[in-house]
């Protein structure tokens, strides 16, 4: 039973990690129907920014809490700037183009940003400081679920809830839903669609940046390639949960994380990916739009 609980929490942690990134994919897809492949790179840039800020601040002897807050804010702002710019440079000019064009543009952006960080920073792995301290009250259960696991779990839950509320109850959320349903109609009723899309990218990028900081602190290392690897798994999770749906992204991530953990624990880690992707195929056969996705209605 203990072993089951240990695996359960390993799976939940992994799922939350995927979830924090998957939320950004799903938001952008929900609104403009674009798979933003550069999202993983925004996450990576967030991790790098918080790494640089945290390193500088710790040299000046700031307390840990201040470092975490300032690094998180700096990473969120900086990554948002990147997300906003990427959208403006690479996607906006292609808004009326066939669906394939922005997709290729997104892949190009992803490769560009990876290599930019590779050249501007380093190709080596860098040690990421432990920004999440070991809480004393977690000590009795530390062998099952660590402090950083807990922080990531809670953050994912809070972020998912906040996003759902934002989209349901605020003015910008309403505008987002309108844009998602019918962009032309949204323009006709006076919604500034460009601004709504920009806002979506900014929110998604800020989330990715905070995810980047927490996850890097949990794993303890970063390099220019982490975004690509995490991005692929997170994207899979978003599809599994029904791309376009916020709770779906988190549910899909949890299902993926738990499958991997239990496959490793009870079968063999050699087959971790085999199980994860078999599950994806199975779910998509029976529910092509994902677990919580809405079936796309054809506009005639």
């Amino acid at each position: 039973m203990d072993y089951f609980i240990e695996l359960l929490f390993s799976g939940l942690t992994k799922g939350s990690i995927y979830g924090l990134i998957a939320l950004g994919y799903t938001m952008v897809y929900g609104i403009i129907g674009l798979i933003n492949f550069a999202h993983g790179e925004i996450y990576m840039i967030g991790a790098f920014t918080s790494f640089i800020v945290a390193t500088v601040l710790s040299i000046y002897g700031f307390p840990l809490l201040a470092i975490v807050v300032i690094a998180a804010v700096a990473a969120a702002v900086w990554s948002s700037a990147y997300g906003y710019t990427v959208e403006k440079v690479a996607y906006r000019p292609l808004r009326q183009a066939p669906r394939l064009s922005p997709l290729i543009s997104a892949i190009g952006m992803s490769i560009f940003l990876q290599n930019y960080v590779l050249l501007a920073q380093t190709s080596d792995y860098l040690p990421f400081p432990a920004l999440i301290p070991e809480f004393a009250f977690m000590e009795p259960v530390a062998h099952i679920v660590g402090s950083s696991d807990l922080v990531i779990l809670v953050t994912t839950a809070v972020v998912m809830l906040a996003l759902t509320l934002l989209i349901k109850f605020t003015k910008i959320g309403k505008a987002m839903r309108a844009t998602a349903q019918d962009r032309t109609m949204a323009v006709l009723v006076g919604i500034n669609v460009d601004r709504v899309i920009s806002a979506t990218f900014i929110i998604g990028s800020a989330l990715a940046a905070i995810g980047g900081m927490l996850i890097a602190s949990h794993i303890g290392q970063i390099n220019f390639y982490i975004g690509f690897l995490a991005g692929i798994k997170a994207f899979t999770a978003a599809v599994l949960g029904g791309i376009g749906s916020i709770p779906g992204a988190v549910l899909g991530s949890m299902v993926l994380g738990l499958t991997e953990a239990f496959a490793t624990g009870y079968v063999s880690s050699d087959y971790e990916d085999v199980f994860a992707f078999s599950l994806l195929v199975l779910i998509l056969i029976f529910k092509p739009s994902g677990l919580l996705g809405k079936a796309e209605t054809k506009k005639v």
Partner: protein
């Protein structure tokens, strides 16, 4: 009319292309071309960069003496990022550039992918670090590091005899380098009968979180974990082991015996054991090479530096003794001529392995690797 312009442009481009190519072909034959191939960028760059520096230092010495048989030595440096699919391009590029001999590649998988190209081109290759046993099948392959066949038993024996392990978990990264190493260690443990292999599994390389496999190791009750693979995965595993309060000892290979591992894993690296090329600190040539490196680059040399330095000396010495860069002549010289290098006075056996190269075990103590045995 437009057709005419295009045609003129085409002719001009071709002419320009020939003009640029001329000086290069004109130079061929005047120098000995020493290729240096390996991971020079990417996440495993720390394995490959020291080889470039070793080659530069040795070549500078030879060139200062007037080269070999009156010919200067020219370095052709090509990056393979430690990836098999890139390594084939790297090898093709070097062969096209008429390379005479190659130092490299660094990673076993990349070397395996590149060897067929060198073999058909008749180019001799000497690696300071590729340990895969299968590479011995190539008659034109040499190395200054002992093969996996020597490393895996060294790791297993150390775990059983020195650490007194009775239950051992063997983990690998499913790669060309790590998996055979893990299999070799497992075989050694099972044959000796001194300990039991309680877990044998491959992990997904570049995984985000190895929490589940660490829990599995814990449940297996292993007192020692033997890991076959490279340092990025190793540092993630030891970090999570520490977080999950797992106290099993961690024994790994020369892919982990790299300062980047200590830098990244930090406190979790303390007490990690790793096999590595033997300690050469008492060798006069090794100390001189280290000094030269410090003087030229203002830093300590990295992983596989001694092996790469030895490879450069051995190759150039063999070319000098053979009096040509012909594959058969150089191969014969490598088999017969003994040469003084940082790893000792070596020659090469029929498998291409340096006679005398062996492994020592190291442990991380206060942020540095120190010799155990």
């Amino acid at each position: 009319m437009r057709f005419g312009l295009k045609r003129k442009l085409f002719v001009a481009t071709v002419a320009l292309g020939f003009a640029l190519a001329m000086p290069v072909t004109g130079m061929a034959g005047d120098t000995i071309k020493l290729g240096v191939a390996g991971a020079h960028s990417g996440d495993l760059a720390s394995y490959g960069l020291p080889t470039i520096k070793a080659a530069e230092l040795v070549v500078a010495q030879y060139n200062a003496k007037g080269g070999i048989n009156g010919k200067q030595i020219e370095l052709l440096i090509e990056d393979d990022v430690c990836k098999p699919e890139v390594a084939t391009n790297t090898a093709t590029k070097l062969v096209t550039d008429k390379v005479d001999v190659v130092i490299g590649h660094i990673c076993s998988g990349a070397t395996k992918a590149a060897m067929p190209i060198y073999k058909s081109a008749g180019v001799l290759v000497m690696s300071p670090s590729a340990t895969s046993d299968e590479l011995s099948d190539y008659p034109n392959f040499f190395r200054t590091i002992a093969p996996n066949a020597a490393q895996a038993p060294a790791m297993a024996d150390f775990a059983m005899d020195v650490l007194g392990a009775t239950k051992i978990a063997v983990i690998h990264d499913k790669g060309d380098y790590g998996k055979p190493l893990a299999e070799g260690a497992k075989k050694r443990v099972e044959e000796s009968g001194k300990a039991k292999v309680v877990l044998f599994e491959g992990i997904t390389p570049s995984g985000l979180d190895y929490g589940a496999i660490v829990q599995k190791i814990k449940r297996s009750g292993a007192d020692v974990v033997i890991f076959g693979g490279y340092h990025p995965e190793a540092s993630k595993i030891v970090t999570i082991m520490k977080k999950k309060r797992l106290t099993a000892k961690f024994v790994s290979d020369d892919g982990v015996k790299d300062d980047t591992f200590i830098k990244v894993a930090g406190a979790a690296a303390e007490g990690v054991y790793a096999a590595g090329p033997q300690d050469n600190s008492s060798n006069a040539i090794a100390s001189a090479a280290k000094e030269a490196h410090k003087k030229a680059y203002n830093s300590d040399p990295g992983a596989f530096f001694d092996g790469a330095y030895s490879a450069a000396i051995a190759l150039l010495n063999a070319i000098e003794k053979a009096g040509s860069t012909d594959l058969d002549a150089v191969t014969k010289a490598l088999h017969t001529e003994k040469v003084d290098t940082p790893i000792g006075t070596i020659h090469f056996d029929e498998k291409g392995d340096a006679v005398g190269a062996r492994y020592s075990m190291y442990v991380v103590k206060d942020g540095k690797y120190v010799v155990v045995q």
